[in-house]
């Protein structure tokens, strides 16, 4: 038993739903009690889909348990076939149905439906949503795709995008366009947008472009082995990764088509002088493994940030993330415990968080700006406008998204200079964000005060030096967005010098020590 407050991933059958809902002419018959139908709203509300997910739930009740739940399943399966006439059906059990062991796969097989029926084994008590999507797509490919003659012109499949994916819609458009410019045709994009009969044709492609390893890697490996299709290893998030991705594509395809990279504005935006203030900002990065890997590289090499810590919630990527963390000289945080992530961020006091919707809330509580880089998703992650994360436009979007929560360069200086100003002060937050209250009213100041109180409590414990009143007062003159870091640096410095008290001098000595 594990006590959980919030979860980063849903159960594995939700992953299977992401595959089925992204596809067309595929139906998912899910043996599940009525409450599990909540999952429909993930797609109709969060993603604003205008169709119900193609899922039939058997919705058994307590009184069915002693009776014939297997019969119920077969009836639901038959009804779904008759009504929706899909090209293929996937069948499986949710966590509760797994316990009653009706074997949906075996039952469906005995029905003799005239279409492929693909059973899914998704262990609900061991695995999670990403596994469910990856495994479902793999089973579809394994059951449906057949070796085929390769297309005459060089072509590829795009693998990994699903319904309810973080910016998948726009990433696919961006990368499809990039491949087009390189003279490469896209044979099949799957699962999102494909039909079962498209999956059958996947073997025609010369190679695969794996956009989302979390949901497509097992299928990509299978295709490599069975259809002799190598797949791309670089996920094109960020300017550098996109260049590497292009090089990989050229090597796989032999394409020498010239590419116009004028649309990549991010590199100049980052070099332009206004961005100087981004230098060395300490960021904490958390999300799924793939997005964290990409974000760490962008943060350090393309934004000039300092990566203060990083981690991921999907254990499958623990090894990759540990390797990256080592390269960055930080500790990797591999956990799906929201409260532990919060505690880590509190201790590290970064100037910015690059995280998920959940870290956004941690940031709000701790008064640290946050930009979202990864699922779990929220209705805000499905903007109406074109907003990819991948390719050149993706790099531009990321630049804008990441700097938006921050106080901008000159404004930061002004805050240092005139921090007593009644309406232009550090508790008021960045001036380009609306809705902030003037100082002295409402929650902003309280929040800052609360954060400080917490760190004050922290600082009295153990071998941490005690702040003298004058030094404490001086610390308060430092704007809120660097105050946490100043406190932490000073305490670290004091401890390293064996000091038991922190004076104003200690504060400035620490400042000089850490100057950059």
């Amino acid at each position: 038993m594990k006590l959980t407050v919030w979860t980063y991933e849903g159960p594995p059958h939700v992953g299977a739903m992401r595959v089925a809902t992204g596809m067309k002419k595929l139906h998912y018959v899910l043996h599940a009690p009525q409450g599990d139908t909540y999952a429909d709203l993930l797609f109709t509300m969060i993603e604003r889909r205008d169709h119900r997910p193609p899922v039939t739930y058997t919705t058994f009740q307590a009184r069915d348990l002693g009776a014939d739940t297997a019969g119920l399943f077969k009836q639901a399966c038959q009804d779904a076939y008759d009504r929706f006439q899909p090209e293929a059906i996937i069948v499986g059990a949710s966590c509760t149905a797994e316990l009653i062991q009706d074997d949906p796969g075996g039952l469906a097989e005995t029905m003799g439906l005239p279409i492929p029926v693909i059973p899914l084994e998704l262990p609900s008590y061991q695995r999670k949503e990403n596994f469910g999507a990856d495994e479902t797509f793999f089973q579809l490919v394994k059951h449906l795709a057949k070796p085929q003659a390769k297309t005459e012109r060089v072509s590829c499949n795009i693998i990994g995008p699903t319904a309810l994916g973080f910016r998948h819609r726009d990433d696919v458009a961006e990368i499809t366009n990039l491949l087009f410019e390189l003279g490469i045709e896209v044979n099949v994009t799957a699962p999102m947008g494909s039909t079962p009969s498209d999956i059958v044709q996947m073997g025609k492609a010369h190679f695969n472009v794996l956009l989302y390893p979390e949901t497509g890697e097992t299928a990509a490996r299978y295709c490599e082995k069975e259809f002799d299709q190598p797949y791309t290893k670089t996920v094109p998030i960020g300017a550098g990764a996109t260049q590497d991705f292009i090089a990989e594509i050229r090597a796989l395809s032999g394409s020498t088509a010239p590419l116009d990279s004028q649309a990549l504005r991010q590199t100049w935006w980052s070099r332009s002088v206004d961005s100087t203030y981004l230098t060395g900002k300490r960021v904490f990065i958390f999300g799924d493994g793939t997005h964290v890997k990409a974000a760490a590289r962008i943060a350090r090499d393309e934004m000039g940030f300092e990566v203060a810590g990083l981690g991921c919630y999907n254990r499958e990527y623990a090894r990759d993330i540990r390797t990256i963390a080592k390269e960055f000289g930080v500790e990797a945080l591999i956990t799906d415990d929201y409260l532990l992530v919060e505690k880590t961020i509190e201790a590290l006091q970064p100037e910015m968080i690059l995280g998920t919707q959940m870290e956004r809330h941690i940031g709000k509580r701790l008064g640290i700006p946050c930009a979202v880089i990864s699922a779990p998703v929220h209705v805000q992650d499905f903007p109406a406008r074109y907003s990819p994360q991948m390719g050149f436009e993706g790099a531009n979007v990321i630049f804008d998204t990441w700097i938006h929560p921050l106080v901008m360069g000159l404004e930061e200086h002004l805050l240092h200079m005139f921090r007593e100003d009644f309406e232009f002060n550090d508790a008021a937050g960045p001036s380009h964000h609306g809705g902030h209250q003037p100082a002295g009213i409402g929650s902003n100041q309280l929040r800052v005060a609360a954060t400080e109180e917490q760190s004050a409590v922290l600082s009295t414990g153990g071998d941490v030096a005690i702040w003298l009143a004058e030094a404490e007062k001086e610390l308060k003159k430092i704007p809120f967005f660097v105050r946490g870091k100043a406190r932490r640096n000073t305490e670290t410095y004091a401890t390293s010098q064996g000091l038991s008290e922190i004076s104003v001098d200690t504060l400035y000595e620490a400042k000089a020590f850490y100057a950059r």
């Binding site: 038993m1 594990k2 006590l3 959980t4 407050v5 919030w6 979860t7 991933e9 849903g10 159960p11 059958h13 939700v14 009690p33 009525q34 409450g35 599990d36 139908t37 909540y38 999952a39 429909d40 709203l41 993930l42 109709t44 509300m45 969060i46 604003r48 889909r49 205008d50 169709h51 119900r52 039939t56 739930y57 058997t58 919705t59 058994f60 009740q61 307590a62 069915d64 348990l65 639901a76 009804d79 009504r83 949710s94 966590c95 509760t96 316990l99 009653i100 262990p123 609900s124 008590y125 061991q126 999670k128 409260l339 919707q357 959940m358 809330h361 941690i362 709000k364 509580r365 929220h378």
Partner: protein, 427 residues
């Protein structure tokens, strides 16, 4: 005291044939009630003993994602718990210890059963008794089931309140208990109305904290503010309390009828009743008149969701000029829903339970002006051109009693107003 009310319809719906279908249901399970109960009962924590799906449901149903540390959580069953490698009861003890150490402010702990815990027959009753002994008197531990194989959406609140009834102390005093979790502002209005009528002593279940004394006995009478409290009704009746049957307090008519039934029970004179209710009744009628214009002469179709459907259909039919085409409810209890069915003019198909695909076919054929349905169906129906009202909003918004009657009409009117003001059609 009912002189201002329109007469009941010549034929109501109480004896109408009920369409009962069995197929896929599109409803939440009872765990969803935790979303509002954990806010209502301020010293309580709700620990779901279930799966990752349960945790994911609570998080998604909260939708808005209330990320302050909530007073609910999930003890997620793992492979070792199911394989019998670990003693589930011992695991539960350990989890509760961890939880109570983390939240020393908690005075009431609800262990909430789920589909998986029901199927593996995890005995939460025994666990609750044992844990109560361990943590008494500081913490009281109760259990109920919010599982989707036993409860539909609002039945979770019913199960929770019903679980509290057996541990209420006994009394012989003549007291009124009002049952049902209401938003604080609405509860305060209700208390003020009953107090002004001279009715008391008045107790409320659920109380905001464990310190608020409620007792029950043969001289207790109780009124329900929510139409989904069937089990709580039965539990209170078993303790000897008597139910005051009435239409539910939605709209001016419902509120007046509800108050009037209680006033009659307590022998309050017509003069007092009229004096106390005259002004709020006038306000409510005025507010409904303002808000309900877009609803007049429009038709409405209810998918089953919260068991609020019948009283709300009555409100929309009698006070907003709407015609109900189908009124679907997950369950229909005559003792609870009868008085509202009496007032609902004959005509609509009354349905209990659901086969969602067949019901969608009926909805498309009926072509209602407004469809009340769950979140999973709303956008797909909007995309087909149907104006929809999310049913869940009716559970999360203050809609009871006089001062909210206009707001209730406005909730239904908003989708129609919106449809009429948007000039760019969706594709």
């Amino acid at each position: 005291m009912t002189e201002l009310m329109p007469p009941p319809p010549a034929t109501g719906c109480r004896t109408s044939p009920v369409l009962k279908q069995r197929g896929q249901r599109e409803v939440f399970c009872g765990l969803t009630g935790i979303i509002w109960l954990h806010r209502k009962i301020q010293d309580a924590f709700f620990l779901v003993v279930g799966s990752r799906t349960c945790a994911h449901l609570l998080q998604s149903a909260a939708g808005v994602m209330i990320f302050a540390e909530p007073r609910f959580g999930t003890a997620i069953l793992e492979e070792a718990d199911l394989a019998g490698l670990k003693d589930a009861q011992a695991e539960l003890d350990r989890t509760v210890e961890e939880l109570l150490a983390r939240r020393p402010d908690i005075r009431q702990l609800f262990l909430v059963g789920s589909c998986p815990s029901e199927v593996i027959k995890l005995d939460l009753n025994r666990a609750a008794e044992r844990l109560t002994q361990t943590y008494a008197p500081k913490v009281r531990v109760l259990e109920y089931s919010g599982s989707g194989i036993e409860t539909t959406f609002t039945q979770g609140e019913d199960a929770c309140l019903a679980a509290m009834v057996p541990v209420l102390p006994k009394t012989d005093a003549r007291e009124l208990i009002v049952v049902g979790a209401l938003p604080d502002v609405v509860e305060d209005q209700m208390v003020a109305l009953l107090t002004d009528l001279g009715i008391g002593p008045l107790r409320i279940l659920p109380a905001r904290t464990i310190e608020d004394e409620i007792a029950v006995g043969p001289n207790t009478v109780f009124a329900l503010t929510q139409p989904f409290l069937g089990d709580t009704h039965a539990a209170l009746s078993r303790r000897g309390a008597r139910h005051i049957a009435a239409p539910f307090p939605f709209g001016e008519e419902g509120t007046t009828a509800w108050l009037s039934a209680i006033a009659e029970e307590f022998n309050i004179s017509c003069e007092v009743f009229d004096r106390v209710t005259e002004a709020p009744r006038r306000r409510a009628r005025h507010a409904i008149g303002q808000a309900a214009a877009p609803l007049n002469d429009k038709s409405v179709f209810f998918f089953p969701d919260s068991q609020l459907e019948i009283p709300l259909a009555r409100f929309l039919s009698r006070e907003c000029g709407m015609t109900a085409l189908e009124v679907g409810s997950p369950y229909i209890h005559d003792a609870l829903h009868g008085p509202d069915l009496d007032l609902l003019p004959a005509g609509p198909q009354i349905s209990e339970g659901q086969d969602v695909d067949l019901q969608l076919d009926r909805c498309r054929a009926a072509h209602p002006d407004l469809t009340v349905c769950g979140l999973g169906l709303a956008n797909p129906l909007e995309a087909e051109g149907f104006a929809t009202k999310w049913a869940i909003e009716l559970v999360f918004t203050p809609v009871h009693f006089y001062e909210q009657a206009g707001d209730l009409a406005a909730l239904f009117a908003r989708p129609l107003r919106r449809k009429s003001i948007l000039k760019v059609a969706a594709e």
